[in-house]
Symmetry: C2
């Protein structure tokens, strides 16, 4: 029988996504017995507020998961690789927000609006897709279901919050320096902290997110390719991505061109998108209504606008997809999966 | 016989593009006899420096073009409509940077790297294309020449300078206000000054540039469609555009997917782009080298990077195209045309 309350661990509790997870757990009134906040040694002893009470951060290590039912990981791929198996061994189901296990054939890759039933196939770990993939597949799922999808050509406009709290601070510091007329200021985080070259993101656009792979695409771009095929369970779907960082604090936008297999009318497309749970259509051109990252910041849903037929291809649709990358792109998607776990006896029978 | 020096008028001399034109005329040591700076009544009497001397701005009206050989217009479409015919009647050749005459069948639409010979077909007026079109067709021309082009899917990342000096100030003011934690600040210019709704551009992305047309595309997007067909003299080229304003001061970027008619190798494509005059390839991934708007600001050429084959279509190429929208996208393209006029006797024989 299902428990009424669960012991929940948040690994990476002091990071941008971890903080958002704690906030959503509170807002959603998640059925929590114990909330255990875990992080690296540097953050041990910090106090995070949850439902009016302070929770002290403990060290994330292999012994930290005793009694935990659900462990939400967002402390980087290496931490997940090191600790997720221990959490599973302790009896927890892991919802992992890193790229560590996403393409593992034994790990379901879940966007609840798209394929939540697949969570039942878990072997202890369930993976959360990359932010840029999540919002795109939510917007595409109703199109896939009704008309099939042949190919997708997508250009992203990604916020700096996806690179963490320090990247947000870097954008703000650089913006202030440039407004004061300075030409020399620190550039340390973007595009990729661990790589030798860093460029200003303030008042700039950087066509690199994550490292380059041998085929000339970035790892971020290849995530969109591979994760989309896995989530839609269709290796024939062609995704051509260009991932770009722009000076937005929070909220990713995507210019998406999609070619369907079957014919449609635009009224049917708009109806399908409008009726899809988790997706909000904001598309009143005469009122200048369309989604924008600075406006949807803090909201849980995916927003779509500028929905229009291709000028040439009767099976081509263009649209503009915006979501809060920290929430739907990470924390909220993970908590959605966790909420499903709390309501689904079947997922626990495997333990 | 060709003159050695020319009387040149700049209409809209105090605007963002007009100022850039005056600066380039000086830098290029343009063969000028008299430089006449014209603007609306509000700017009459202002003094603009040219080669160390002050030039007083005069009123732009139908009588202002006596003796002028070349008139460079960038004061808005309505001013061009009102005054360009008078300038032509006075004996000038007009290079018009507005959209007033671009699609006029009697007016050549010129990007010098692409179709400068067509300038000879003028009937007094030569049109400068829209900024977002210019940089795209420069990057596509070497591909068109060698392999033909079937279709283009382009998403733009456009700077605020394209909306004028006031839009740049608005971006800076809004950025400062947000950095100071203010949530209420003026929004007056973007996305379209004359429309009722205005949104913040600071730390945001706005998927509207210019007004919407009945087909759901913006006027900016349809300029890319129609001007590309006219410049390439090929109505079969399919352009699918999404035009987006981002918080960059100056420099437009474009994510361009192009499908060719004939097969190529990527080495051939990179060589063709590298050898094309006016185009600079910046594409060393192992060195993290690619074009960015904040870096190429102030340069005359078009820059292209992230050149890579589509993952599926053997005739598909993705690339990232960046240019200074005030220079190559407007002022420099106009001065390039004017330089051609100073060297080409044939264009004057029509007068």
């Amino acid at each position: 029988m299902l428990k009424e309350k669960f012991n929940v661990a948040v690994v990476g509790a002091t990071g941008a996504v971890g903080q958002a997870i704690v906030q959503i757990l509170e807002e959603r009134n998640f059925p929590i017995d114990e909330l255990r906040l875990l992080a690296s040694k540097n953050s041990v002893g910090k106090v995070v507020m949850f439902k009016g009470e302070g929770v002290t951060v403990q060290e994330a290590n292999t012994d930290a998961f005793k009694g935990i039912d659900i462990a939400l990981f967002s402390a980087g791929g290496s931490v997940s690789k090191a600790l997720a198996p221990a959490a599973v061994k302790s009896g927890a189901i892991v919802v992992d927000n890193t790229s560590a296990y996403r393409m593992d054939a034994n790990v379901p890759l879940i966007v609840p609006e798209v394929n939540i039933e697949r969570a039942k196939d878990h072997n202890g770990i369930i993976a959360n897709p990359n932010c840029s993939t999540i919002q795109m597949v939510v917007a595409l799922k109703p199109i896939l279901d009704k008309w099939g999808i042949k190919r997708i050509i997508v250009s992203t406009y990604q916020a700096v919050s996806g690179s963490g709290v320090k990247a947000v601070q870097e954008l703000k510091n650089q913006s202030q320096a440039i407004l004061e007329g300075k030409t020399d200021f620190p550039k340390e985080i973007l595009p990729v902290g661990s790589l030798p070259k860093h460029y200003p993101i303030a008042f700039n656009a950087i066509p690199q997110i994550d490292v380059f792979e041998d085929n000339g695409y970035t790892k971020e771009e290849m995530k969109m390719v591979n994760e989309t095929m896995k989530i839609f369970e269709d290796d024939s779907i062609q995704v051509t991505p260009t991932a770009v960082r722009i000076p937005v604090v929070n909220g990713h936008s995507e210019s998406v061109y999609v070619e369907t297999k079957e014919s449609f009318t635009m009224d049917e497309v708009v109806a399908a998108l409008s009726n899809f749970k988790g997706l909000q259509v904001v598309d009143q051109l005469e009122e200048q209504e369309y989604p924008m990252p600075a406006v949807i910041d803090g909201q849980l849903d995916v927003f779509v606008g500028r929905i229009r037929k291709d000028l040439y291809n009767d099976k081509g649709i263009n649209m503009w997809v915006v979501a809060d990358n920290l929430l739907k792109g990470a924390a909220w998607n993970a908590v959605q999966i966790a909420e499903y776990l709390t309501k689904t006896e079947e997922v626990w029978n495997k333990k």
